[in-house]
Amino acid sequence: MTVSNTGVTAPAGPALPDRGTPAERPGARAATSRKSMRERDRSGYLFVAPFAVATGLFLVVPTLYGLWMSFTNQSLTGAGSEFIGFANYLEAFSDPQVWQTLWHTVWFTILSTVPLVLVALVMALLVHTGLPGQWVWRMSFFAPYLLTSAVVWHLSNWMFQPDIGLLDTWITGLGLDPLGWLTDENVAMFSIAGVTVWWTVGFNFLLYLAALQGIPAQQYEAATIDGAGGWRRLFSITLPQLRTITGVIVVLQLLASLKVFDQIYMLTAGGPNGSTRPILEYIYDTGFTNYRLGYASAISYVFFALILVFTLVRLLPARKEA
């Protein structure tokens, strides 16, 4: 099982020590009696039914319906739902907007993922030193993650205000020219990535912190006795131990960044001049502003193909370990 393999984080809380899979446990009697006890039990269907119904209605049906839609010229106005074969897909592949918005999404993903991993790592390493003020550090780094996107938009929009915003005030105070944070085509995506790092880095920070707490102290003790200094311990003990979790965080972050929509839609609405519009916004515009549901579905599936590649990459290493 790929997802339920014994992994980097143990189940929360001390209530149940992880005892491995039942079959590995001592007392093999349990395994046989368990089987017989379970076979008498036919209630599984009832327990799985609510989840199965919800998944069927809100995941399977729309997935298949969307696939069918992508081969039609269906419109939000209800007009037309003829089967038009691969016409939507052919149009998507030759539509410069698709490639442009797809590139914006990828560009944002690159711009945000690198600092979202590195800054989170630095934060976690600093907090894990056990220096006084633990509560304050955790709060400062994680709190923005709890803000809803619209609050993030209000706060950052205010920071980015031309002339009277805090950033312009500081920059002109340093004797530099004010920047078009959200209005300059060459700057806007960087501003959005910056906001995103501020907003969501706390999540990766917590994942790193949990991983750091799992490194056995004996290793540090041994290294100290061998005369390794602080930097040496960082590079030869701490960082190598974080390799697995870093892989996981990178892939989770790639998947999250690819789905960017909220903050871009609010901060720039895809502007200036369409220079930050992500593919999800193009799908939204095509479907809900231009009413072309069939075409929007086709673009969705092109985008899905891209996401699927990353998802499979995520699952591969887990399968190797299992």
Partner: protein
Amino acid sequence: MAVADIAEIRRTKALQERAENRTLTRLTIGPSPWARAGALAALVVLAGAWLVPVVWGAVTSFKHEAEAALPASLLPTMGWTLDAYEKVLGNSDLLLWMWNSLLVALLVTALTVLISAMAAFAFSQTVFKGRALMQWLTLAAIMMPGQILIVPLFREMQVLGLVDTVAGIVLPQVVAPVMVFILKRFFDAIPQELLDAARIDGAGSWRLFWTIVLPLSRSILVAVAIFVFIGAWNNFLWPFIITTDPQFMTLPVGLSTVKDAYGVQYAQNMASAMIAALPLLIVFMLFQRRIVQGVATTGMGGQ
């Protein structure tokens, strides 16, 4: 337990923690006071940078509107005022949106935890035909990003008549296959002898689930609930698509529409942002430890 005892326990715990932290410092950066000062300085700078937007927004929210539109001065020079808060609470739907968000987030959390736990129990502790197939399908469902389903899902909701309803906002959000696997892994670790003993005593699956499995899994259930709640409270895209009537908008959706309504009323914008941010921040301060733990354990998606 007497109050004095609790205070005593707290004090011992705090002392213990301080000792642990000191050991940690010795192990990670070593004894050099310069290294410690450097790390502390880095922490102060980073935390400061992270707090600036929130502090700046908070200060602005207490300014007079006329002053907020002037080039930045950190502290108000025209005096502190609650004007912006009065106006926002009096003239906008902010409180209604917060109520909607709370209702939606609570419903999503309760339903998600319940149906995921039930499915996890079925996969972990019962045998039925098609179990393997269903587990495989659930695994595949994890790979389906909900974002790409917005178009067909909206169409489906139109057919079902659920546009602009609470059910329409909530129901599509309760499908969380990742949570099923996180819970299943935890249920798998429950000592089988315990369950068998209860079965011999005549307990049916339903009793087993409610009186043994769920109580034993409190910590992971809370972790999953916290994670789902934060996600539902902050979810923007789906509520944004399924609601057009301001009466049904959740906080993120409603708040994203106020720009035009207020024009350039910065103090009021900041005041609404502060009010909107407050509930989750307070919850976080109260349950910091649990939330940190919950996000860390569930955040990996059961990896």
